[in-house]
Symmetry: C2
Subunit: 241 residues, 2 copies
């Protein structure tokens, strides 16, 4: 019995989240080049085939570095996507032939989440075009990249519920409680009660008030806060202590 086992290429794809000044979640997309495909349909998630001597996590770190120029980024593997038909679209097959010089019939991908302060300068060593797209304005993407992005949203919510500290990766180093509330609301599926939010946040001793308030704002100037990772780590985040 010689069964028909999969023998395949493996890639990594990265969903990098940022939080913009209009309180929207954004993700990074890159440009890909194919003839005959309109420019606005040429976006994709940053990703790469993994090399034969490479582990998947290393490949994801490589992709993020090629994408942003940033050396250390928070990163979380979240799911392997392996639908047998995920790369069966003709334009995707054609693009892979040009990009990788390989004739690729099936490809599975390991998807990663990453978080980036949106003001951080992006210096890609690989891509000409890397830009932020609000999560509700992502165009139709090749392969199953739209599905990966949808599932990454569920994953980032779960991640923040499990480890609240990672929310601060998306905020500036000093932030107002309003910014934190708006980010948490953008990440939640439902409306968050602002009173409950304030009450809960004020019980978190790792969110430290600073001796500094906003300047040049039209509303009442709010105090800035910072996140203290050391105090956070000391807290026991277990359900039952």
């Amino acid at each position: 019995m010689n069964q028909d086992f999969i023998h395949t290429y493996v890639s990594v794809d990265c969903v990098v989240f940022g939080f913009d000044h209009d309180n929207r979640l954004n993700i990074l997309l890159v440009q890909r080049y194919i003839d005959d495909v309109p420019a606005d349909k040429q976006r994709k998630l940053p990703g790469s085939l993994i090399f034969s001597n490479e582990d998947v996590d290393d490949a994801a770190h490589r992709v993020l570095h090629e994408l942003t120029g940033i050396k250390k980024m928070v990163l979380k593997q979240f799911k392997c996507f392996a639908d047998p038909l995920r790369a069966s679209n003709q334009s995707d097959i054609k693009w892979m032939g040009t990009e990788y010089m390989h004739n690729i019939d099936r490809i599975i991908t390991v998807a990663y989440l990453s978080l980036c302060k949106i003001d951080q300068k992006i210096n890609s060593t690989k891509y000409e075009t890397v830009d932020w797209h609000p999560i509700d304005q992502v165009p139709a993407l090749p392969f199953d990249h739209n599905k990966i992005i949808n599932e990454s949203l569920t994953e980032i919510r779960r991640w923040i519920e499990t480890d609240f500290s990672i929310i601060f990766e998306l905020l500036p180093k000093k932030f107002t409680i309003r910014q934190l509330y708006q980010l948490y609301s953008a990440l939640s599926e439902k409306q968050i009660d602002i009173k409950n939010f304030h009450k809960k946040i004020s019980s978190f001793n790792y969110i430290i008030p600073l001796e500094e308030i906003e300047k040049n704002v039209s509303h009442r100037a709010a105090r800035y806060y910072k996140f203290d990772a050391k105090i956070y780590k000391k807290n026991n985040t277990k359900l039952i202590k």
Copy 2:
């Protein structure tokens, strides 16, 4: 430029947890057969190469069904293991050649967690030997299976902190608070204060007392409880409501 991209077989491996009457976490291992290898070194995690027309989640469901005969089991994909050297041991290569009739040089695996009530009857359609091993008495296993098991322990802890309801998959339908405490303690890395535990548990309205107490026990007979999934789902488990 024709880079050396990975082109590989892909497998799934399943870590199935059970909780025994001595309050120990156990996992299911199966026997593999290779000449020249002592019988006690022939255990492995249940797993399989995935077929060319199969998605990874479907492959994991297939493996669990072949393993236990149980149709629906709770299952969670948790990590892709892709160390380039994870299948480079000669006896592992030899075993794969016999098992799969393929000459396999590199293989990546997608690891799954599953949970099983330990009294459930195991009716494997594939394996002659399927048995429970206490987690602290797992022998040296092939490939990186010991590493996968270690990481699955971290993952099951995180899973229960995120979704407490899954702990009840490991308990009998009616259970005592002592059993729940012992299971939670076995899953935790550190000692759990029993008073805090009781206090917290009594605030969970989805743990329902029954009109039934233990029989034929040497200690004081304790009340049985059941888990109510519907009430649990109604509860908002979010960090901030």
